[in-house]
């Protein structure tokens, strides 16, 4: 790719030479080897990061719930009189925050007895965990973890096809099968109920997710993931050239991001949308009858899907692998004193982009855990009402507003576009407010039960309740 090099100029002759050498090496490889490298560069880090996610979830959740959490595994107790131990460590303990807990978890799962129930649909039962694991890893097929320029352009994404976002939709919709089939094959009514819930939930939230992605596609004008990253380096709101137009910073993009975030949690079956495995109602839902490594593969699939969905969120809305929404090169051009700084930061931004991307994924994971710790599980009708009555209309309205913005920008310039968007948002807010008022009127017709508040200082009066 000779022309894509023009976009980025790595600072310093040394790194430039190394990059050029790597480019030459990669370009003379057979395409099949290059593809294999790309696949490995995605799958191996994903496999390695899953235990870390489990540790992070357990620690963070414990911290949010005012517990300690797993902090014992990976504690080193130094011997008292060994010569190889430095004197100040002898007899002390070094705690490593329980970092090796996931390994202990893994060994436990691996060594547990693998129970296969008698009355199962054997073939489907054994295939279902594999099907559950597949979409999480396949989702990364079009996901770029670095800017598609220079060396990184050869290494990521695995396939830069012109249907990138549709591919995401397709693969994430396949995620339902692992759950449905495991629920069916277990021949257990709780598993079956979990599978049924999962299929209804995934179909419902896929629509809103698709519409929120469609808004981004419309704003970008392309289905390619790499084009979406490029579109998010345009001037902010079409007027501020110093800043990057991250989708989450525009009003329509923000609405789409919120809708996508909620749908993403629902698609990965995480709390508060974990009805398919609601413990207090369904034992463990679809994986009730699975034990040992078959259960572990469901577990791994869920965490890998969380990570990859966070990556998709980062790519679609948070500017992809770029560190901050500032155009460093443009900064150097407008403020001549900062030109060298701008060039340095552009280079740092480029070379640190994989780290930035992983950081954004970690942010997404933290959001997942935070939601799990904060929000109680939805009731089933609330789940359906949220998906169909709130998120889907919101996403469709947002999609129409993006179209309106593009049309008015085309006709009257950037100012006209934003005036139209403001008017549309105001109209929409008025519409929803009137809907809410109508709904409140109807609800007041229902019988209401009064609750008398009890003053704890006078317990006698409360006893009459």
């Amino acid at each position: 790719m000779p022309d894509s090099q023009a976009g980025i100029r790595p600072a310093g002759a040394r790194s430039g030479k190394v990059a050029a050498g790597m480019m030459d090496f990669l370009q003379q490889l057979h395409p099949a080897w290059l593809a294999l490298i790309r696949v490995l560069l995605f799958v191996v880090p994903l496999l390695l990061v899953v235990p870390g996610l489990i540790w992070w979830e357990r620690r963070l959740l414990a911290w949010m719930q005012d517990r300690i959490g797993p902090n014992r595994v990976a504690t080193i107790t130094w011997p008292k009189d060994a010569r190889w131990v430095p004197p100040f460590l002898r007899g002390k303990k070094t705690r490593l925050f329980g970092l090796l807990q996931p390994i202990a978890d893994g060994i436990k799962l691996f060594l547990k007895e693998d129970i296969t129930p008698a009355a199962i649909d054997r073939a489907v039962y054994f295939v279902a965990p594999a099907i559950a694991l597949f979409p999480a890893f396949a989702l990364g097929g079009t996901l770029p973890w670095a800017p598609p320029e220079g060396v990184y352009g050869l290494l990521t994404p695995i396939a830069d096809v012109n249907i990138g976002v549709l591919y995401l939709m397709a693969v994430s919709s396949l995620g339902a099968y692992g759950i449905i089939l495991s629920g069916y094959a277990s021949n257990n009514k709780y598993s079956l109920l979990g599978g049924l819930r999962a299929s209804a939930q995934l179909i419902s939230y896929e629509l809103a997710m698709g519409m929120s992605i469609a808004a981004v596609v419309l704003a970008t004008g392309s289905l390619k993931m790499t084009d979406m990253i490029k579109a998010q380096t345009e001037p902010l709101w079409g007027v501020a050239p110093l800043f990057d137009n991250w989708n989450v910073l525009t009003p329509m993009g923000f609405v789409a991001a919120v809708v996508f975030l909620i749908c993403m949690v629902a698609e990965t079956n995480r709390a508060p949308f974990d009805l398919p495995e609601a413990e207090n109602e369904l034992i463990a839902g679809y994986h009730t009858e699975y034990s040992s490594m078959k259960f572990a593969s469901f577990f791994m699939g869920e965490y890998a899907a969380m990570f990859v969905f966070s990556g998709v969120f980062a790519t679609l809305f948070l500017g992809g692998p770029n560190m901050v929404p500032v155009d460093w090169v443009a900064l150097g051009q407008t403020v001549p004193a900062l030109e060298g700084f701008g060039r340095l930061m552009a280079s740092v931004n480029y070379w640190a982009s994989p780290l930035t991307f992983v950081g954004k994924c970690a942010f997404g994971i933290t959001l997942f855990i935070w939601m799990r710790a904060t929000l109680p599980r939805l009731r089933y009708d609330q789940l359906m009402a949220l998906g169909w009555r709130s998120l889907l209309p919101l996403a469709v309205a947002n999609f129409l507003i993006v179209a309106l913005y593009l049309l008015c920008t085309d006709l009257y310039g950037a100012g006209g576009g934003w005036i139209a968007v403001g008017a549309a948002f105001a109209l929409l807010a008025a519409f929803f407010a009137s809907l809410a008022r109508a709904g409140r009127g109807r609800r007041e017709a229902l019988p209401r039960r009064e609750i008398r508040l009890v003053d704890p200082a006078k317990p006698k009066e409360g006893a009459a309740l």
Binding site: N162, I163, L166, S173, G183
Partner: protein, 183 residues
């Protein structure tokens, strides 16, 4: 190898009988086998699973032909949505596998077989024979890309497209009316 198939294959891929042909053979074999499985299995859930495998292998066949948009729409719509609904309904009904679906042997099966054979011949004559003239398995540039598809849908075929969407809207409203008797 004379005859329809030999000549067609030789002309379709004169130079690359290696990878692409092998891929095609594997995918086509999976598609045909799963298609047979849809009819042959007694258990409705197995049949639905075979249908899913069939749709997936068809989508992959579309990919190998350069029609990525068509292939991915196939996965999103059929595999991802419609078949999930199929499975949903099958699991709700929980059909008892062999007894409910046993067919009696009668002459109608012969008639059905004859009709199927006739249909097969018709398809071969109509669709496969003209392909003997095809020189290259590659589609033209931008054929089947999202942009070309969108342009065709909203310019040349805008009336059929809008009519189909109105039909779907009628279907949606009708199903809501059926499901909610008291509006």
């Amino acid at each position: 190898m004379e005859g329809i198939w030999g000549a067609g294959v030789a002309q379709l891929a004169p130079t690359q009988v290696g990878g692409p042909m092998l891929l095609f053979a594997v995918l086509a074999a999976v598609a045909v086998a799963s298609g047979v499985g849809v009819v042959a299995f007694n258990s409705p859930v197995r049949s639905a699973l075979c249908l899913i495998a069939n749709f997936l292998s068809l989508a992959l066949l579309y990919f190998t032909l350069g029609a990525e948009m068509l292939g991915i729409i196939q996965v999103v719509v059929y595999t991802g949505a419609i078949m999930v609904l199929f499975l949903f309904v099958l699991m709700l009904l929980n059909l008892a596998a062999p007894g409910a679906l046993r067919e009696s042997r009668d002459l109608r099966r012969l008639g059905a077989g004859a009709l199927a054979a006739a249909l097969f011949v018709l398809v071969v004559v109509q669709a496969v024979l003209p392909l003997q003239e095809a020189a290259s398995p590659q589609a033209a540039d931008y054929y089947g890309t999202p942009m070309a598809l969108g342009r065709a849908l909203f310019t040349e075929y805008v009336w059929p497209f809008e009519l189909a969407s109105v039909l779907l809207l009628v279907g949606i409203v009708g199903s809501i009316l059926l499901a909610k008797r008291r509006v």
